[in-house]
Symmetry: C2
Subunit: 324 residues, 2 copies
Amino acid sequence: MYNHSELKELVDKAIVNLSYNTEAEKLINPVKYIFSIGGKRLRPVMALMACNLFSDKIDDAVIPATGLEVFHNFTLVHDDIMDQSFLRRNFQTVHIKWNINQAILSGDVMAFIANGCFLQTPPNCLNQVLRVFNKAAVEVCVGQQLDIDFEKAAIVSQEEYLRMIELKTAVLIAASFKIGAIIGGAEDKDSDLLYECGRNLGLAFQIQDDLLDIYGDMRLFGKTSGGDIVANKKTFLLVKALEIANGVQHKQLKKLISTMNTDPEVKVKKVVELYDQLNIKTITENLANGYIERARNLLEKVAVDETRKKELTLLANSLIGRTR
Amino acid sequence: MYNHSELKELVDKAIVNLSYNTEAEKLINPVKYIFSIGGKRLRPVMALMACNLFSDKIDDAVIPATGLEVFHNFTLVHDDIMDQSFLRRNFQTVHIKWNINQAILSGDVMAFIANGCFLQTPPNCLNQVLRVFNKAAVEVCVGQQLDIDFEKAAIVSQEEYLRMIELKTAVLIAASFKIGAIIGGAEDKDSDLLYECGRNLGLAFQIQDDLLDIYGDMRLFGKTSGGDIVANKKTFLLVKALEIANGVQHKQLKKLISTMNTDPEVKVKKVVELYDQLNIKTITENLANGYIERARNLLEKVAVDETRKKELTLLANSLIGRTR
């Protein structure tokens, strides 16, 4: 069995060894750049863990798993344009370091480089893997559209928000699990269980990400930078707070997120105060932990020896452990 | 055997019947829009003609052929952003009718809708078709990069220009021919001949397009709007003229294409005068006709009865006929 860091190393090596059409260097430089600024390689690592559940030999899964990372980074490059983000992992985003046109085009080619990785799936499961990937890819686009729509919407329900992050984040993690399982030779029943497991883990992952923006910093530095609050980003915390706030609190919160000129530090402090009144941290943690719990139960049902599930269980645990 | 208009009708119907993930209508509206504003459906028609060379039954090829049109329109939506084009087929471009972010994202989803079409290729040739498509897709991105680079370059050689249009335009037409042939059950030798045939036809097609911008209008209206000249676009005509101009002519041409404030009509008239001095029209026609001739010879070598080649020959002829 491979552990997390061994798998990440395999993926990092495969990314470095990706072969490109180098006839237009300018096209590929941003591709190399986005891979060079780091990243946890979570999706391919998850795919390889899922493969390793069923098979000791995971070589066949390494390049297709890498395709998941290429696709993920394609979405980052284009999302950063749409979100007008200047920084990604503390480095300039591609459209800032180059320009918007370059980010569009280098992003585009990454979609087909990802395809190329998936085309290296062993023939016996190629068709199935491509279908799982492509369905997820379309859904990720739908998720990004909902995210854009929600930024402009006055009210977003908890249900709508969860569906958005399911599409934007969770389905690709679900697909990563399923693709790894398929290449590892899993029965349909088990690869479907792993899809569901990944979907729940993906939901937990995104909700934790919303939490970390505020309470992660707090744990580390005693206070929060609250980037999402400053940017008026619709997170689960805000959506939930608006849903359960009483009349006065609702009005205060609405006012805080609609005024542009408040001192960011004051704004974050006041919003967090309201979150605390509404018990948002606990509500959010409970929701995330519920998804993790469901993911664990689904993993338990997968028909392989418990000892093989160690790495995936550690990964799920590390997600829970992130805020406490 | 199907004729051109029957094939176009089949493709138009398939486009209308494409099934979309409609959870975010805003994502799909621009997709429907770009298909609704017309287009010759040249690539899928070519694929179906190539299929029909080898097989009377072409049903299996219709959806994959449609994938070629979806991919082509994906590139149009993104290229129009990069080129800052306001109009496409006399309708507003997607990024003007909506906005740049919407054009990026709706373009992106089209790449995966195209994938989805190719995934409906019969299993026995799925792998091969996907490889041919994906190689072409990467090359089209490389071609667009070279096009962008060349717009900024001081000097572009004829060779560089031809390589750029080969990648940006010809390889997708080549791939269309090859994909159709593969699904029709062609031997490798024949599908390779058709790839080369399509590549030559594609080069002729793009060079004719450059010619038509000036001499097409002239034939129809007695004078030219010369859109490419006004926009200082690097066409084959300009590249060739700069290559063969003498010192005085070269200086005149350089001055004309570098000044911004000339009356467009005067500018077009003067550039065309220089083209006429340099015999650019005939040189360009000869080059295009040479590619058509090669395409014809390659088609002749394809091991099917001559009577089956009628539609493809008509198509090649119609390309030649476009300027005279």
